[in-house]
Symmetry: C2
Subunit: 217 residues, 2 copies
């Protein structure tokens, strides 16, 4: 049996139980998980005791009920405001715009940013059917209105979708008295020049920085 037929087989396999088939189906909806891995998960769960499965099941059910979105920055939270927005020591004049909460966690972890966030909940991607109205862009525009914000830092992926979203948001907020910047694109720290692509290397020369700014503090 070659690889293709093995894969097809796992797509059409008779799992000898409708429920197992359904469980495999549900798990294979998770990102990056195929039928074979899903089946492995189900077999693993079958070996667990009942209480553990009940907890797992309950946690999933509660996710949708208890997780709310921060009414200021749209980050996930269990309260009205997220931890960043409710922290009085954060700099309210700078907003960093990110795609999802994974990026908030990644930036928080660097320890270099003390401002606020705005979580878009995705990026504009016509291929995936995601338009500007599916994202929390109007909420970002509303935050410009009170005049407290000086700078908006766009921290989206350096992809076509990221650039489109940057441009769309830039057009929406350019009439407010705020500076709009993007995170620096260039050679990664520890990266070797010979492996960098032409576009990145070219832009890293155009957008060169004074030597003293390049030092890692």
């Amino acid at each position: 049996m070659n690889l293709i037929s093995r894969v097809e087989y796992f797509c059409n396999v008779n799992f000898s139980s409708k429920l197992i088939e359904q469980a495999v189906e549900e798990f294979s909806q998770l990102p990056g998980i195929g039928k074979k891995t899903a089946f492995r998960f189900v077999l693993h769960l079958l070996k667990q005791d009942k209480q553990k499965l009940a907890n797992f099941s309950d946690t999933i059910l509660r996710l949708k009920d208890e997780i709310k979105y921060c009414k200021v920055c749209c980050n996930v939270t269990e309260h009205e405001l997220c931890e960043v927005c409710s922290n009085p020591s954060r700099d309210k004049s700078t907003i960093c715009v990110v795609e999802d909460i994974r990026d908030v966690i990644a930036i928080e972890n660097t320890g270099y940013f003390k401002g606020m966030y705005h979580v878009l909940g995705g990026i504009i991607s016509p291929m995936d059917g995601i338009g500007p109205n599916d994202l929390y862009i109007s909420q970002l525009v509303d935050r410009m209105a009170d005049g407290e914000v000086n700078e908006v830092i766009m921290a989206l992926s350096t992809t076509m979708e990221g650039d489109t979203t940057n441009f769309y948001i830039y057009k929406k907020i350019k009439d407010f008295p705020v500076k709009v910047s993007t995170i620096a694109r260039g050679i990664a720290i520890g990266g070797e020049l010979e492996y960098a692509d032409d576009v990145t290397l070219g832009r890293s020369i155009v957008n060169r920085v004074p030597y003293e700014n390049s030092l890692i503090k």
Copy 2:
């Protein structure tokens, strides 16, 4: 931040919500899933509608209640007997001993075996704390008692644990009038000799088969 610290960071990260942390914890119990992938799953689930999460949660909860083990071969089933054991056209004189139901599905899929199965539910592995009493070995021995079985085919992995289990079961059933065989070990169909390991190649010469048996029918 190097790779190690990224990994550590995901182990100690503040997810800004106890519930998300708990959900990540639950998903990362699944085999082969780390915190980072688990977090991706949770973010994916947060984007689903409530009904979908309720179905997912319900399926997991039902797994333990509704999935039973076949009282003859210990395969999973929703009834008293599994599909193989309840099929009157199967050859009851041959039992193929396998580790878990994935192996049943794999062997069924070849279409070469028309006998019965016996699912051990694991293999003897002292390192993982799995001893003979944790497996359905006594149920296999009980099946020898009625004299209907002529041959037991051991179809376990070719590992130290598989060989230990083979030996343990062989000792338990050698006094019954049954033939005990193991599946053939040798060069895989389509495999090249120069990439085969010494032990496999050596055994494939010792256990050579008549030319007419080597033809794929």
